[in-house]
Amino acid sequence: MTIPAGQVAFYYLAAASIATALLAVTRRNPVHSMLWVLALFLHVAGIFLLTGAEFLAAVQIIIYAGAILVFYLFFLMLLDLPSETAGPRFGAHWPLAAAAGAAFAAVAWYAYEPALAPAAEPPAALSGNIATIPSGNIATVGMELFTRFVLPFEIASLILLAAIVGAVVIARRKTPA
């Protein structure tokens, strides 16, 4: 039995995502953490490609890896890196945090498993390798976005406007009168 190339790629991307996420959360140096998060975002973009979400993969790379992560890296310059790397990484309550994360992951695995076990077989028309994933995805997403989801789309732009104004107001230096 031959394993399809898409599955090999998926399992590589999944393993790399989990490894880079773990590294990102546990590194002492915040800049190293950021670079591991960058690797995580790129691997997640690969997973989006494999699930046939090409537009989402492009947005993931352009907005997450390109804009948001660079923004975070700028803000790391606010830190005093030597003292940051010298202190403890985790608060004293970290076992509780680890237990909460593990419990959530376990509950989610448990919840997904019975619901998806019968449906895990791919539909007959789509089984096979990655080449059978339907193309033309970007046109479909664009049509949906500007017809059925045009109101949520406009609301998203309002949310972004509110966030810009809010960020400026919060971060502004208070000048006396």
Binding site: L22, Q60, Y72, A117, A163
Partner: protein, 100 residues
């Protein structure tokens, strides 16, 4: 064809890792980055469902999640600037002014 169950398991694991980072780290910027990891985990499961159901709505929801994440970054990092102006350093342990 990516098995949807494996995608959802990956999503759950990534979300758990992000939760550990958010609850456990002391650095407020890395806490915000952990929130980004959790949002990404949600996007993975939305994309998996979108493929499984052959339906683009999941991807559109994921796009809205990304828009909200960008808004969250702007406001969150604005708060970090305001905080570091009043009190240098970004460790949440030191922010005890509101603690009872």
């Amino acid at each position: 064809m990516v098995p949807v169950g494996a995608c959802l398991a990956l999503s759950a694991t990534l979300f758990g890792i992000g939760l550990v980072g958010f609850l456990g780290r002391r650095n407020i910027i890395l806490m915000l980055v952990s929130v980004e990891i959790m949002l990404n985990a949600v996007n993975v499961s939305l994309a998996a469902f979108s493929q499984h159901l052959q339906e683009p709505r999941g991807q559109i929801m994921a796009l809205f999640v990304i828009a909200v994440a960008a808004a969250e970054v702007a406001v969150g990092l604005g708060l970090v600037i305001a905080l570091s102006r009043n009190r240098p350093g970004v460790n949440v342990d030191d922010l005890t002014a509101l603690k009872w």
